[in-house]
Symmetry: C2
């Protein structure tokens, strides 16, 4: 089957999925969950194949960790599918509706996008999450996983597709490819058949898509996230939030990279936060004011490049600012519009920060780590969008739909 | 001022506009409306300059008509601005909001996009409509009008900018350019400063943007629209709707191009609709079945190219279909996803059509001509989007915004 034939089959399947009632889609998803449980041993065996190959190829430990499945992780995947079953059907929701002066009824209704292609790398759970979210939203999914996870993705896609067929839905509702770049390029040309491409991967994948995709793309991009500790912060909350945002899982996009501290609380806060971060193995780079206040000659100096960097590791920049405005300017200059937090007890400062910061998620007195479809109650997500158009924040069910206007009349015509 | 400086100034202005309360924006819009009225004579004089140049250059009559302002048209522009004043502020609307199990409050709030560039051709009203919509939605606007309207657009932009300054808002809230293609190319590179580009023009402009824009684009595209007269149609309504959809203003994107008639009503409906269209000067091309039923040897035969064409003139294709499914297949094959209508008294047929047709606007028993921001009650519009992502249908206030999540907590951190 060529890429064009596969895309056309997905489009045909999407027309069937688009008008299915919720119960038919949920039945299929329950069968997916059951099949994943029934075939767990087989799935884990295939995953071992990928892990062995990855170790033999000396792939980085972080990648091998993302690749690895075990019973707990498989349980979590199944739980995600069941969580998606429990969610309301987004399709058919009347987003707005009103009656015009001439009696026509206008309704803006949520409808599926059609065919969604998801391009991802090593994490096998994306295969199931993406297929389940697309199916629930009435879309056909074309999944293109990374080469490193090919055995795991193949068996997972086979299990999902088997359940879809068992539920009486078209097999092309879910397709899986392990293509080379040339075939990926072909997929990115299928604008007659594919409605949306979602890349979930690094900057290199993103640049490839910017260059080659004729299809609209939503980028699940990186996050250079900040925590700003205001002059009116509760320093106990501040400490807890900074430690969590930096250390709880440093390799992910919603982890914090730079800490901004208001000058008025710097003397009280910096020594303890530097001590606590240091004890957790966080390497620090700090501006001159911070170094002076902390009076620790071992602290390395931060530069512009540090402020621009998404470390994705136990490393953090600290800068002392003179005002909330300076904090906002820093975030505006260096942030990637992902997740930004202020710690303050001052309602005016909180409102000023949430209004001025242009990011997908802005937190008052909470960790940036909450930016996640599961945490937000969306069941699962395909990634976090930092773009403004269509989807911003977790890409979940609602983001996998679009709207159309349906207008009911009684013979009305326009006269002006 | 270079294009980059102008774009950066617009970005800085957009940060001021983003947090303005509604009353400040409405005050500025009222000043815009008043200034347009006060300087009407001056505006019309500049428009005469453009019209003279257009006639001297022997530009097409249709373009000269789009270019022309008169007192009525200027009044209509002012009415649009006042209608936008009367609309609710889209900014700050809580689209969804809920409390998580851990007590955090999550709110998805509507916020401005930032800087919106609108690229358009001859119609001077777009200068004012686009500026007013962008301002109300808290965005800075960069307007790039067509060369043919340069005098009209320059004076209109000057009037708008004067009112904006008088209202105490930054001058760069509205900028106007009459650039050549090279400068337009530069504008399309300013992805650090410009958040969205909306082209409103022909296919050539669209292809230029597909090729050159690094900025997200929403296309205000053409419409190959259909009216399907079902077997259960009220033929009196059908006749009225077909005539209106084709003849009331044939040169616009929501006018109908092809009429599909169910075989069961063809003998009753075709002779009268062919007669009425003919009397209004509509040139017809028809399929063989239609020709046989109409028994009119003067009718020319329709081919695939006719079905693909947006005539934008008093020309129409007619095809007789055997079933609603054949009508849906025709629309799916040839439609551009703009506006599609079914005429029927059968609720099952109406629901089948509205669900199966993948278009921005689907009508039951009403003319496709209603697809318009003003008609829908949106005050004005920048165009009709036929894409699925972000905006579908009229591009008005809501489509000029995006969302961000604002999360209020009490020190919550994530533990899993």
């Amino acid at each position: 089957m060529t890429i064009e034939e596969l895309s056309a089959a997905a489009k045909a399947a999407s027309r069937v999925l688009a008008t299915l009632p919720r119960e038919r889609k949920d039945e299929a998803l329950v069968l997916v969950a059951e099949a994943l449980e029934r075939r767990a041993a087989e799935i884990l065996r295939e995953n071992v194949e990928d892990l062995s190959a990855a170790r033999a190829a000396r792939l980085p430990d972080a990648l091998i960790d993302r690749l690895r499945l075990d019973e707990d992780r498989l349980d979590e995947i199944v739980r995600s599918v069941r969580a998606i079953v429990a969610l309301e059907d987004p399709v058919g929701e009347v987003v707005r509706g009103w009656r015009l002066a001439n009696g026509m009824e206008v309704r803006k209704e949520r409808v599926p996008l059609g065919v969604v292609a998801v391009i991802y790398e090593a994490r096998p759970n994306v295969t199931v999450d993406a297929a389940a979210l697309c199916l629930k939203a009435g879309n056909a999914a074309i999944l293109r996983g990374g080469r490193a996870a090919k055995h795991s993705n193949r068996i997972l896609a086979e299990v999902v597709q088997g359940a879809v067929i068992e539920a009486g839905l078209p097999a092309a509702a879910v397709s899986h490819l392990t293509t080379d770049r040339e075939e990926l390029r072909q997929l990115l040309q299928q604008r007659a058949h594919v409605d949306l491409v979602i890349p979930r991967g690094g900057e290199e994948l993103k640049e490839f898509l910017v260059e080659h995709s004729l299809i609209p793309v939503i980028y699940a991009a990186g996050g250079n996230c900040h925590v700003y500790v205001d002059s009116a912060a509760d320093l106990e909350k501040a400490l807890r939030i900074v430690i969590n945002a930096k250390c709880q899982r440093p390799g992910v996009c919603n982890a914090a990279e730079t800490l901004l501290v208001h000058r008025d609380v710097a003397a009280a806060f910096l020594p303890q936060v530097i001590d606590e971060l240091g004890r957790r193995g966080v390497e620090l780079v700090v501006d001159k004011t911070t170094a002076d206040i902390a009076a620790d000659p071992s602290l390395k100096r931060a530069n512009k490049t540090h402020y621009e960097t998404e470390f994705l590791s136990l490393k953090m920049a600290i800068r002392t600012v003179e005002s909330i405005d300076e904090a906002i300017d820093h975030v505006t200059m260096y942030g990637t519009g992902h997740s930004e937090a202020i710690v303050t007890e001052d309602v005016t400062a909180a409102r000023r920060f949430t209004q001025a910061i242009d990011a997908a998620c802005v937190y008052v007195n909470a960790s940036t780590r909450f930016t996640d479809g599961g945490q937000f109650g969306f069941g699962a997500e395909i990634g976090i969008s930092t773009q403004k158009l269509h989807a911003r924040g977790p890409i979940a069910l609602e983001e996998l739909t679009c709207a159309k206007y349906v207008i009911w009349g009684a013979g009305q015509v326009r006269d002006g």
